[in-house]
Amino acid sequence: MRLKNYYLVLGVLVAIVLLFACRKKDSDPQGNNWGPYNPTPYTLEVPVGFPEPVIPEFNKMTVEGVNLGRYLYYDNILSSNGLSCNSCHIRSLSFSKELFITLAGETKSIPPHVNLAWNPDFNWTGSEPVLDNLCLGDFEPEFFNTNKDSLFSRLSKSAIYPEKFYKAFGIKDINKLSYDELKQKIVYAISQFMRTMVSSNSKYNKFIHHLAMMTPSEIRGFNIFFTEKGDCFHCHGGDLTTDNSFHNTGLDANPTGYNMGRYNYTGNPNDIGKFSTPTLINIELTAPYMHDGRFQTLEEVIEFYNSGVHNTSPNIDPIMTKPGKEYGLGLTPMEKADLLNFLKTFTDTSFINNPAYFNPL
């Protein structure tokens, strides 16, 4: 072989070696090899009668993202005070809890995490329009009181999270993220998990699609709920049992402070006293009721609509002030009992017992 050929072979070999050296490593700084970053798209099943869910382009769901979110939802690694998402969103209570008292001393009832993929806005006043930002506030002292350095350190040294962040988001080294980037990714993952929390199997949902029977009492309650007699359906209809809008149902004659509702967010006087219509799915499990938990039982809620509505409250919904019902709905004790029995058909035990939502830790 001539010398020229030796150089040629040598050149090719050097090139191959260089190529391999230049190839991106699928491993973290510790040298773990996690394989290529190739998340699997997660298809959210849309139950019959449900609209299309709200899934933003910037946080498409993946199997790995949902999985990371599920771990983080249950992990107090995010906080400095031992709290995790499920401290206030307990599975047996439809991922809700009784009450939360803010630093400002306001008592708020904690909305359940159910069918959030269909909500156009969040919080009782609609102050957050994007689910994927909703939990960013939870790192604050009022909730997790997160310690930035501790969060980076605990996550990056964890036996499970470095790989899960890589598989969900392609992040090879958590420590190379800024604090804001890390929080955003955490919240993205948790949002992906929350979008999987879908309830469509209550007796009510099945009944309206002719897949289940109700008792005579439940049907009588259904008829009160879904006619002008009770007129609950204008705000609580369809499979989602919410119109995802804002209403003043006359809780206070002159709302002040937190009770001014959406006005506190928009500053629009037409929003005084209005609050987001909550879902009624699993309402039996999410006492106490209303935005401030003022009613302890569903019986109290029914009695409020039956006889306690403040008709002169500013911006009270036009639906609430119908002629002939100035003094309430006039329901008999039996009708109230029927309505209560019907409200319990919103309970979906298959939702709270779905293993896909269990604590994985």
Binding site: V48, G49, F226, T227, P318, I319, T321, K322
Partner: protein, 235 residues
């Protein structure tokens, strides 16, 4: 030979391109506005008065229009089968287009406010949030609200709400609106203005105090609104 073939292809292409320019149809863009006796509608302001003398404001106006038909002077028609959900507060739902409207001189447009009986059944429309919020309860007949028109009215110092809703098959409102326009391969922009006060007058005066501010489950009240509705788009 090659040149001849190329020439043939060029001529054929030119002929087809030429035909394309001579469209025998055009586009009609429909845009719906709202007024109260000539004054543009402002939501949430207690500044209007109806024929019965009720001072009132409007907080919500949602409805469907369907079976939109353009009528030519020769009696022929162009019919569409869309069911359009409209929220007067959301501009985008008040603007829609019809392509392939045949050329000709048109003299009127007809459509329904509401949904015809063949398609007015529960979950008959796609399950969008808007459609689902318009569902008319099964115990009250099923299908969808044809219209929700809500607000407040002044009543001896207090301001109770009114909710004039219509639904169920007998409450379909037929609109026949004379309008002269020509389509000649072009785009015609049609403006329609709904006069809110027309819902409450002509032929019958609707008084929130005596007829009731809440019409669901009250067929007498609903039928009054339906009969008044026929000319809500007439100026």
């Amino acid at each position: 030979m090659k040149t001849k073939i190329l020439l043939l292809i060029a001529i054929t292409t030119a002929v087809f391109a030429g035909c394309k320019n001579k469209d025998n149809s055009g586009t009609v863009n429909l845009n719906i506005n709202y007024a109260v006796d000539g004054v543009p509608l402002n939501f949430d302001t207690m500044m209007y008065q109806n024929e019965a003398g009720n001072q009132y404001s409007v907080t919500r106006l949602e409805y469907y229009i369907s079976n939109i038909t353009f009528h030519k002077n020769d009696g022929s028609v162009f019919t569409t089968d869309i069911i359009q959900y409209i929220n007067a507060r959301t501009a985008s739902t008040n603007q829609f287009s019809f392509n392939d409207v045949p050329n000709g001189n048109y003299t009127k447009i007809t459509f329904n406010i509401g949904i015809d009986s063949a398609r007015n059944y529960t979950y008959g429309l796609p399950a969008t949030s808007e459609n689902n919020n318009m569902l008319w309860p099964e115990p009250m007949g099923g299908g969808y609200h044809f219209m929700k028109l809500e607000g407040y009215f002044a009543d001896n110092g207090s301001t109770p709400g009114f909710a004039t809703h219509i639904g169920t098959n007998s409450c379909l409102v037929s609109i026949e609106h004379p309008i002269n326009f020509s389509v000649d391969g072009n785009t015609y922009n049609m403006q329609l203005t709904m006069n809110i006060n027309e819902w409450y007058k002509n032929p019958e005066i609707y008084d929130f105090n005596t007829d009731g501010g809440y019409s669901m489950g009250n067929m007498m009240a609903m039928m009054k609104i339906v009969r008044n509705g026929a000319d809500v788009f007439n100026q």
